[in-house]
């Protein structure tokens, strides 16, 4: 089939690009975690390290995918995705990384798994995201929150 040429003038795209730049000014982090008791800890860590960050929370991969799709369609993907590995539903945090990991400027995993088992689970073809072993402490969470400060500089 012959390639079709786009029949739409491109000038209107500038308007859309401008909207995207504004959207990028807002830094958002997605936390994919079914243990909601960790919410205050993460909120405190980000408040300390980077108060400008807005946190979104999902408890399953499907919920996370909807949020990622929404942010992407607004031209403002998440700055950082922090995901537990074992979540509600069939899909795991590793599935989320394999599907959408490349879009997050930073991606981190949180789990109770020993590091050796985590490394075995990961396909190393595309690198291995930062791993944080549970139980979480404020200090550990702040180290992850620091990732947003680095990419902001």
């Amino acid at each position: 089939m012959q390639a079709l040429q786009t029949s739409i003038p491109r000038k209107g795209l500038f308007e859309l690009e401008g909207r995207r730049e504004r959207a990028h000014a807002e830094m958002r982090v997605l936390i994919v975690e079914d243990d909601l008791t960790l919410q205050p800890l993460w909120e405190r860590a980000f408040k300390t390290k980077n108060p400008a960050v807005k946190l979104d929370w999902a408890t399953s991969v499907s919920e996370a995918e909807k949020l990622i799709h929404l942010r992407f369609s607004r031209g403002a993907p998440y700055e950082l995705i922090i995901s537990d590995i074992f979540l509600e539903g069939n899909a795991t945090g590793v599935d989320l990384w394999n599907r959408y990991g490349e879009e997050a400027l930073n991606f981190a995993f949180v789990s109770g798994l020993p590091v050796s088992k985590y490394e075995l689970m990961m396909s190393l073809d595309f690198g291995c995201p930062t791993y944080l072993k549970k139980p979480l402490t404020l200090q550990k969470c702040e180290e992850i929150a620091d990732l947003t400060c680095v990419s902001e500089a």
């Binding site: 040429q5 786009t6 029949s7 491109r10 992407f72 031209g75």
Partner: protein, 102 residues
């Protein structure tokens, strides 16, 4: 497999060698359905999915009396390639829609 009127998908399961093929196809049909709802009623959309060197490419070709477009997105995963082509194609439809009203 889902059927969406006006949408033809060319994706070879064996050639793509994708573990999550069925999950991807669900998302592709859902995205394509949402997309064609924004286009003229006589639109027909062809979606080609292929493996490329560093991942996957998803290409949209839309044809109708009023609107024609061809866009593609690439990504390490087909899910991201799909997000990228959807974003580009929706932007073109928005621009067409704005220009049509002027």
């Amino acid at each position: 497999m889902a059927y969406v009127p006006g949408v033809q998908v060319n994706a070879n399961k064996a050639a793509l060698a994708l573990a999550e093929f069925d999950e991807f196809m669900k998302k592709l049909y859902a995205g394509a359905e949402e997309f064609v709802q924004r286009t003229p009623i006589d639109s027909s959309l062809t979606v080609d999915v292929e493996r490329i060197k560093d991942g996957f490419k998803v290409a949209f070709k839309l044809a109708s009396a009023e609107l024609r477009l061809a866009e593609s997105g690439e990504g390490r995963s087909p899910f991201m390639a799909l997000e990228r082509v959807l974003l580009k194609a929706k932007d073109l439809v928005k621009v067409w829609s704005i220009n049509k009203k002027v």
